[in-house]
């Protein structure tokens, strides 16, 4: 079951790399949050109880509901439901995403030799999620897609942290969650300001500061 979910997560990455509408992005983020929530639910046996409850709240509350909602509202308000305007063609984008995945799985299977603790499927999917998050940030023009890329990256990191046995103390976990949440919140606030100041939210406009 967990394996199926992780594969589904990988499929969502392929989908995000070819879709060109902003709303589809937010839907994918919602789906990824839900998948991570289900993975956490099924992993219950490995985690201790306080951490478990905490992770449930985090994944369902923040990743699945609040963050997609904030983004969705921002998109509505700024009326940027149109194209995401990538620098590259959809087909090329799909090829690059696939290459990233192949690379991540090769890396995962090579790493298994050094530590029996990790599961190659988990590890491969999380590394490719992180890299694809970075790829989304680099290959899209609109600032809001950068935030989406950043959240995909964070999802990948979360999946990676689930794949390891040693867990963080609760204090640290709380801090990490709080930081990421405030970070995304601040990014959205600044996005709105940029939208009202620069009128467009293309990264090409942010070129006042250069040497």
């Amino acid at each position: 079951m967990i394996h199926f979910l992780v594969v589904l997560f990988a499929v969502s990455l392929l989908y995000i790399s070819i879709s060109s509408r902003m709303e589809a992005y937010v839907k994918v983020l919602f789906m990824q949050g839900l998948i991570i929530f289900l993975v956490v639910t099924l992993e219950a046996a490995v985690l201790n109880s306080i951490n478990y409850i905490f992770l449930m709240v985090e994944t369902l509350g923040f990743k699945t509901i609040i963050i997609p909602l904030i983004l969705f509202k921002a998109i509505r308000k700024m009326d940027v439901r149109r194209e995401v305007e990538p620098y590259m063609m959809t087909f090329h984008s799909l090829v690059i995403t696939t290459l990233i995945m192949i690379f991540s799985f090769v890396l995962a299977f090579l790493s298994v030799k050094y530590s029996g603790e990790i599961k190659p499927l988990y590890f491969g999917v999380s590394i490719s999620t992180i890299l694809i998050g970075l790829y989304i940030i680099m290959s899209r023009k609109k600032i809001i897609t950068h935030i989406v890329g950043f959240i995909v990256l964070e999802n990948g990191i979360f999946l990676l942290s689930l794949s390891i046995a040693g867990e963080m103390p609760l204090v640290v976990n709380l801090g990490v969650l709080l930081d990421i949440f405030i970070g995304i919140f601040l990014l959205v606030i600044m996005l709105k300001r940029i939208h009202s100041t620069f009128e467009e939210i293309h990264i090409d406009r942010l070129t006042d500061l250069t040497d």
Partner: protein, 479 residues
């Protein structure tokens, strides 16, 4: 004492926020700076009666960073007392600035006190979140752009550092702990493969905050757009805090006999930082950006020092102290010039020495101190560093080091002297500068001069201990 320093912002910020008064805003920061200074000195004297948690603590390495931070914060707080006197920022804006400033300082102190790798990460990310609104205080187009780039680039960098931490914790799965002392004590049990896998992530991630090339892109923008007390804290303290994180992991690498691997990476990034700043210092026409590139250069010098090892460790620690204090004073002076001339462009400023004698001389003196002209301490650190390079047979590095440093010295010198000399520009108001706007810099420069001429014993011990934390010192000695 640690508790007092960490909890002060939590108590003071709500008061500041609700009272919303100019005087209280300024006093809140000044009182924090005094508390910080007294607290740090008390901690240095070994007065820490209550150890309330194992998550926070101090060692010889963070002690040095803490004392530097305390001194620089005090200087910035005094300067801050009159900073908003002639500014258009509204009272509400100033109050927000004060609240974020307090939290920014608190989170940087948190980085220095953290004894847990995960907690250190949390505080480093918190510094980004609290300082982004500080860059945006002036509400201009360019400051918005700078703040956006800062928060976005640093968040991604810090996320990558977290990937590194997770990879590290795979390698330490049999320890079930990321406390530094646990890691150091059980270094032999860590799987070297995962450590090697993790280090580049942590280096790039924290290196983003530290301003090492090629992940320095946010630094010139943020430093040039933020108010001068914030620029001083960013350059003098924040970069050091990120450096401390890297050094903590670096120590783990040395204990696992992987320092050759870490050294090569640090050396490459250090030299690249020198190259980047050499190129851009010649091109830039904005003196605050020029100072920012100089910060990149100095961070490069420090990482080269760590990479070389031996006497390099000591040189790097001395350079940390020298750079932070000098650059803090430099940015505060830049703030005065900006206030007087209302321009950040080098071309629009002439005859600084005639228009404003005190700030003119401060500007020239800061330049002398940052570029390693004797007897300032950065001369000693750079001299020791080069000596270390020859001892360890890094000849090519030494040649490149001299080459880049010469270009940077030329580039900065040209700009500084063009601004300082020449005849007075028309239309610049002649007013007597307030004491608080130049006194902190004068005191810092005299302190630096004193350290350069006669190194006090306690400082020498402090530096030796800090350097000793990093690895075995083969040779340490003053020229």
């Amino acid at each position: 004492m640690i508790a007092a320093i960490l909890l002060y912002p939590l108590i003071a910020a709500p008061l500041v926020f609700f009272l919303e008064s100019k005087i209280i805003n300024r006093l809140a920061i000044l009182i924090y700076a005094l508390l910080f200074a007294v607290g740090s000195v008390a901690l240095y004297m070994g007065l820490n009666p209550i150890e309330f948690t194992t998550y926070f603590g101090l060692d010889s390495l963070s002690m040095l960073f803490l004392l530097i931070m305390a001194l620089l914060f005090l200087a910035a707080a005094i300067y801050n007392m009159t900073y908003f006197n002639h500014s258009d920022v509204s009272l509400k804006g100033q109050t927000e600035y004060t609240v974020f400033f307090l939290f920014f300082i608190g989170s940087m102190a948190g980085v220095l006190f953290s004894q847990h790798l995960g907690l250190l990460w949390v505080f480093v990310e918190a510094t980004t979140l609290f300082s982004a609104p500080l860059i945006f205080v002036e509400r201009s187009r360019s400051s918005l752009e700078a703040a956006w780039k800062y928060i976005f680039i640093c968040s991604i960098g810090i996320s990558l550092a977290f990937v590194g931490i997770i990879l590290l914790s795979i390698g330490t799965a049999n320890l079930h702990s990321l406390f530094f002392w646990d890691l150091y004590r059980n270094a032999g049990r860590i799987n070297p493969f995962w450590l090697k896998f993790a280090f580049p992530f942590i280096l790039v991630g924290l290196g983003t905050k530290m301003g090492l090339a090629p992940v320095h892109a946010w630094l010139p923008d943020a430093h040039s757009e933020s108010p001068s007390p914030v620029s001083a804290m960013l350059s003098g303290v924040l970069l050091n805090a990120a450096l401390l994180g890297i050094l903590r992991v670096y120590k783990l690498m040395t204990l696992c006999d992987l320092h050759y691997y870490a050294d090569h990476l640090l050396l490459a990034m250090g030299l690249l930082s020198l190259l980047v700043s050499a190129i851009f210092i010649l091109r830039t026409n904005n003196y605050k950006r020029m100072l920012a590139y100089s910060s990149i250069e100095n961070m490069g010098i420090i990482s080269i020092g760590v990479a070389i090892g031996g006497a390099g460790y000591y040189a790097a620690m001395l350079h940390v102290a020298a750079h932070s204090l000098t650059k803090g004073a430099f940015f505060l002076t830049a703030g005065n010039i900006l206030h007087r001339f209302k321009s950040r462009e080098i071309d629009k400023i002439r005859g600084l020495l005639q228009t404003d004698k005190i700030n003119g001389w401060l500007w020239v003196a800061c330049f002398a101190a940052i570029s390693g002209i004797p007897p300032f301490p950065s001369f000693i650190s750079e001299f020791l560093l080069v000596k270390g390079m020859f001892q360890q047979r890094f000849f090519l590095t030494a040649i490149l080091f001299f080459f880049f440093l010469t270009i940077i010295l030329y580039g900065m010198g040209q700009s500084v002297f063009r601004m300082s000399f020449g005849s007075k520009l028309p239309g610049i108001p002649a007013e007597k500068p307030m004491l608080s706007t130049y006194l902190p810099q004068v005191i810092i420069l005299f302190l630096l001069l004193f350290i350069g001429l006669y190194m006090p014993d306690f400082l020498d011990t402090l530096l030796r201990k800090a350097a000793g934390e990093l690895g075995v010192i083969k040779y340490v000695g003053l020229p």
